[in-house]
């Protein structure tokens, strides 16, 4: 006998946003092949992000960065038991259609890759697979949620190993949410205009005092202390891109970042896991980057 009393429903907001809820307090790691995916899973990653090249290499090598080869994505899907995410170019809905057929669990419409559409993001409501998108501020986050994103991450500045931009974007979002919750109903339409965000979502955030979806930190996290910093600033979890596989000892660093994300308020444990990790990735000072190389300025 079966206990279900109604037909089952897939692809709902609740199941899309729900998977992100399950990833909270965890670390999602960029991987380019099966070997890296296995190292990430072994370290305790809650999910892996499959992409063609990590952001630091995209910066160094230049050229057009695209969705990863489906053969490589499928191999990663088969190799690990944790959820697999994969990146598509901004606006490239066909790359997203392709990834959906591969059984990817989340799609990142990402500014790290070369944009395919310089005006419109993907209409994410059309998909059964959920999407995560980057944002620098509350307006941008709510626009993406309005387009159907089920999870948000700060953009930060990917591939730099420099956490300053992720911090700035996280603080910006937090202070804008605080500001919204001080407004009365009469002021909310003007706030929606200022933020460039859908009124219904502005009203929802003003009432609840939080984003309607999970918000991770991303873009420049390279050390256990960076991960704990973002957690203490109020994000729900962290993405680490180049920070792991461009460092001296990826397996050890990955494990340390996972532990610092769980025990983010425990400085003694963070100190312990931060000892003797070997070389961190070489960082870049954001001030030296021209606007044309700032990935966070792609999409808005």
């Amino acid at each position: 006998m079966d206990s279900t009393s109604t037909p089952i429903e897939t692809g709902t907001d609740l199941v899309k946003r729900g998977l992100a809820e399950m990833l909270k307090g965890g670390v999602i790691m960029d991987v380019t092949d099966v070997e890296q995916a296995r190292i990430a899973e072994e370290a305790g990653a809650v999910a892996v992000m499959s992409l063609e090249r990590v952001p630091a290499d995209i910066r160094a090598e230049g050229g057009v960065a695209r969705m990863a080869d489906p053969e490589r994505v499928s191999a990663i899907v088969d190799a690990v038991s944790i959820p697999v995410m994969a990146k598509v170019r901004l606006g490239h809905f066909v790359e997203a259609q392709v990834l959906e057929t591969l059984g990817v669990d989340y799609i990142d419409e990402s500014e790290v890759l070369t944009p395919a559409d310089d005006q419109f993001h993907i209409d994410k409501w059309k998909f059964t697979v959920p999407f995560v998108c980057g944002a620098k501020n509350l307006g941008e986050a709510l626009r993406r949620i309005g387009e159907g994103a089920a999870m948000i991450r700060t953009k930060g500045e990917p591939g730099t190993g420099n956490v300053v931009e992720a911090v700035r974007h996280m603080r910006q979002m937090t202070s804008q949410i605080k500001w919204l919750s001080t407004l009365d109903d009469q002021e909310l339409m003007d706030a929606a205009k200022v933020l460039g965000a859908p009124y219904a979502l502005v009203k929802e955030v003003a009432g609840s005092g939080r984003l309607p979806v999970v918000n991770f930190a991303a873009g420049g996290i390279a050390t256990p202390a960076d991960a704990a910093l973002m957690m203490q600033l109020g994000c729900d979890g962290v993405f680490v891109g180049s920070g792991i596989f461009k460092s001296g000892d990826p397996a050890v660093r990955a494990k340390a970042i996972v532990e610092a994300t769980t025990y983010f308020k425990d400085a003694e444990k963070i100190a312990k896991v931060s000892r003797g990790l070997g070389e961190a990735m070489v960082g870049i000072n954001i001030d030296t980057l021209p606007d044309s190389e700032m990935m966070q300025l792609r999409g808005d």
Binding site: D2, S3, T4, G18, L19, K24, G26, D105, P130, E259
Partner: protein
């Protein structure tokens, strides 16, 4: 005196469990260490990534203390990853498990994320409306021991079971407004009499 229910807070949606328990008037505590486990009367193991939760529990010396408390009768609710962590084995996969629930689980049994779903479930012993259940990359139970009571099934597989002091669900009651599953664990937790 009120009961104090802990929620294992290594990773996952422990905040949702905490607010659900608080809405039932229970005192709650986040549990990340063996010392914090000592101070609670009952425990919820949340949804999350079961491999991550298992690895962290192992690295931080929580596996044995958890086994001891749960086998010793501490009321425990596990949802999704929590169910996997409580079980004795996983089909075709090796991972850290407590083995206190006499059941073999199949991870991601319904498929990948595109197959995640919502459905209304009639649950044995829960009167009234069906429970609206949210299944996310959910496990089901492949095989149960003799002492395990099956409270609900989907496609013929148990998705809600009880074994003495342990309740386990494949789905996420913490993602809805329905407090009935959490009320079951609160009811199972004895209030210590103050003399």
């Amino acid at each position: 005196m009120t009961v104090r229910i802990g929620v294992l807070a290594l990773q996952g949606d422990f905040r949702e469990h905490i607010s659900m328990l608080q809405s039932l008037g229970v005192t709650t505590a986040e549990v990340r260490t063996a010392e914090e486990l000592e101070g609670v009367d009952a425990l919820v193991i949340p949804g999350g990534e079961s491999t991550t939760i298992g690895k962290l529990a192992d690295r931080y010396g929580l596996i044995e203390p958890l086994r001891k408390r749960i086998a010793g009768g501490m009321p425990t609710l596990g949802t999704c990853a929590g169910m996997i962590f409580l079980a004795s084995a996983t089909v075709n996969h090796d991972q850290h498990q407590l083995g206190v629930l006499d059941a073999v689980v199949q991870r991601n049994a319904f498929g990948r994320q595109v197959d995640s779903f919502e459905a209304d479930l009639n649950v044995d012993g829960v009167p009234g409306d069906p429970i609206h259940a949210v299944f996310i990359r959910a496990p089901w139970i492949e095989k149960v021991g003799a002492d395990v009571e099956v409270l609900a099934t989907v496609d013929g597989h148990p998705v809600f079971v009880r074994q003495d002091n342990i309740l386990a669900t494949s789905f996420h009651p913490e993602l809805t407004d329905d407090t009935r599953v959490h009320a079951m664990i609160v009811d199972m937790t004895p209030i210590e009499e103050q003399i």
